[in-house]
Assembly symmetry: C2
C-alpha cells in the first residue's frame, strides 16, 4: 500500500532523525550529540541532512567553530525537546511503574492461609514493590489478564509458562478438637464416619477413604455441599461443623495453635501440587525474579 505509506511518511517526521536533531540542538554540535547518542559524527550529519530535506529548510547554520539554529530550527527545538522529555518520562514510568506493582493471581485458600501470613516479609524485603492480589480459581491466561505471576494448583504441565513447585497438594482430614471430643476423640479412620463430613463429594475424600480402607459408599449418602474453597471448609471445621479434608501445609498455624487437629498421619496425594507460575518470557523481569526468589526461599525455609 504505497499510497498509504507515502501519506504517512509525509505527515510524520522521521523519528530517528528527530531524536538526533534534539540532541544536536541541545549541544549545538554534531560531534557531541553523536557521542551522546552513541554514534559517529557522520551519522548525525546524515540524519540532520535527512531531516532538513524533509522539513524543506535548513535547521542549522554551519559556522566555522560551531553551529547555530536557523529560524526554522529554533521553532522546532523547544517542542521537540519537550516531546522527548514526555516520551522518556512515559517510558520510564511504564518501566518503573511496571516494576512497582506486582499483580499476583492466587487461589483463595493460598492467599488467606499462606500469603497473608508471609507477605509481610516480602514487603519488608522489597519496600518499593506494591503487591496486588487477584484472587480467582480460574486458570489465569497471562495474555488476557493483567497478571504478573500466579499461584496455581494442578499437575504442573502448562505450556508456555515457567513453573516452580511450592508444595504437594496432599490432603488429610482435619477437625476441631472440640468436635473430636464429642465422640471421645478420633482414634482411627472409622471414627470419622460418626461425624459430619464437609463436602463429601470432594474427590479427595474418595481417595482418602480408599487409602484408609473406609467404605466409599458412606460418602455418597451424606448431604453434599461444597463451599468451593479449602479455607471456607477449614473455617467450618474450626467452628466444629464437621471434618474437612484439606492440604496440611496450608493450615500449619491452625494446627500449631490447636484450632484444628490432624488425627491421622495418612495423607492422600493425587500428584497435584501448588505451583508458582509466570510467562517464560518474563522470567528475568526484576519484580518477578524478586517474588520468585522470595517465595521459594520462604517455602524452603519454613
Amino acid at each position: 500500500m504505497p499510497e498509504l505509506k507515502s501519506r504517512q511518511v509525509s505527515q510524520l517526521p522521521p523519528l530517528q532523525a528527530i531524536r538526533v536533531f534534539e540532541a544536536v540542538a541541545r549541544h549545538l554540535s554534531f560531534t557531541k550529540a553523536a557521542a551522546e547518542l552513541g554514534m559517529t559524527q557522520a551519522a548525525a550529519s546524515y540524519q540532520i541532512k535527512l531531516l532538513e530535506e524533509r522539513v524543506g529548510a535548513p535547521l542549522f547554520l554551519r559556522r566555522p567553530r560551531q553551529i547555530v539554529l536557523t529560524e526554522a530550527g529554533q521553532r522546532m527545538a523547544p517542542a521537540v525537546s519537550e516531546a522527548f522529555a514526555l516520551l522518556g518520562g512515559a517510558y520510564a514510568a511504564a518501566r518503573s511503574g511496571a516494576d512497582g506493582v506486582l499483580c499476583v493471581s492466587t487461589l483463595l485458600t493460598f492467599a488467606s492461609n499462606w500469603l497473608a501470613q508471609h507477605l509481610g516479609s516480602f514487603q519488608v524485603a522489597h519496600p518499593s514493590l506494591a503487591v496486588r492480589l487477584d484472587t480467582s480459581n480460574r486458570l489465569v491466561d497471562f495474555a488476557r489478564e493483567d497478571i504478573d505471576i500466579a499461584i496455581r494448583s494442578g499437575g504442573g504441565n502448562w505450556p508456555g509458562v515457567e513453573v516452580h513447585k511450592l508444595f504437594n497438594a496432599d490432603f488429610t482430614p482435619m477437625l476441631s478438637p472440640k468436635l473430636a471430643a464429642t465422640i471421645g476423640g478420633v482414634k482411627e479412620p472409622a471414627d470419622l464416619l460418626r461425624l459430619p463430613i464437609l463436602d463429601p463429594g470432594d474427590i479427595w475424600w474418595r481417595d482418602w477413604f480408599i487409602a484408609a480402607g473406609l467404605p466409599v459408599e458412606e460418602l455418597a449418602k451424606r448431604p453434599g455441599s461444597s463451599m468451593g474453597a479449602q479455607a471456607y471448609e477449614a473455617n467450618a471445621a474450626i467452628a466444629g461443623q464437621g471434618v474437612a479434608i484439606v492440604t496440611a501445609a496450608l493450615f500449619k498455624a491452625e494446627l500449631a495453635d490447636g484450632r484444628l487437629i490432624q488425627p491421622f498421619d495418612l495423607v492422600g496425594d493425587d500428584g497435584h501440587a501448588y505451583w508458582l507460575v509466570y510467562p517464560q518470557a518474563r522470567r528475568n523481569v526484576p519484580k518477578i525474579r524478586a517474588f520468585r526468589e522470595w517465595i521459594l526461599a520462604e517455602i524452603a525455609g519454613q
Copy 2:
C-alpha cells in the same frame, strides 16, 4: 563504542515501536493501526512485541475480538500521545513556518531600485508569505546564513547553486538634466570631461571611457571617492553632484520622470549580470519556487 550505545538504548525507548504503540493504543487494534501507519498487521505486532520486551511488561491484553491496554499501557499511552502531538506540531510548524517567511538576500541597489517598486505585487499574489529582506554586498553563503534566496551580481558561475539571469549588469553614464544644462547639454562623450565624475576609480568608468574613445588618464586625475552602491551615486547624480555610471535597468523610474538622463546609447558590458540564486537542493521548496516564478515573470514582463 558499544558501551555508549547500550547505555543509550537502555534509556531511550525504540522510537519506531513507540510510534506504533501510539497508533495501536488509539485504535485498540493492531490491524487498524497498521493500516494508518501504512504497514502490515504483522509489522505492528512485531513492533509492539519488541516494545513490550523493552518495557518489561505487556502493554496490551489480547482479548478475543479486541485488545485492551494493561495498567502499564495505560500509564504510557496518554503521555506518548501528547508527545507525538507535540512532535507533529513542531514538525508542521517548522514546515509551514518555513514556508511562511522568505528571507531574501539582496544587493542594496537592487532592493531600493527594483524590489521596492515590485515587491508589492508579489505580496498581493502570495499574501501568506512574509518577505524579509537582508541587504548585503557580501556573497551570501547559504550554508552559513539563514537565507532562502539571493540576488547577486557577477559572472553567474557559482557552484552548488541554481542561477537565473535577471538582466545584464551593463553600465552607462547618467546625470541630472540640471547638471547637463550647466554646460549647455551633454552632446558627446567628451562633454563629460567638463563635469564631476562620481567614483572615477570604478572599473566601469574605465571600460566605458575606452569604449567611448575617451582618455582613461582623465579618470586617474579626479578625486576618487566611492559610495559603495549605485543607488547612492545615483542619488548624488540626481542631486546634481556629478555623473554616475550605473546600470540603466535599475533606474527606469528615474529616467522616466526625468530625474536622470542617459545622454548616450553606448552601454558598457563586462559580461556581469544580476542573478537570482538559491541552493539547488531547495529548488522545489514552495516559497522559493513562488518567488522565482514571480520575479522571472516580472522581469520578462516589464
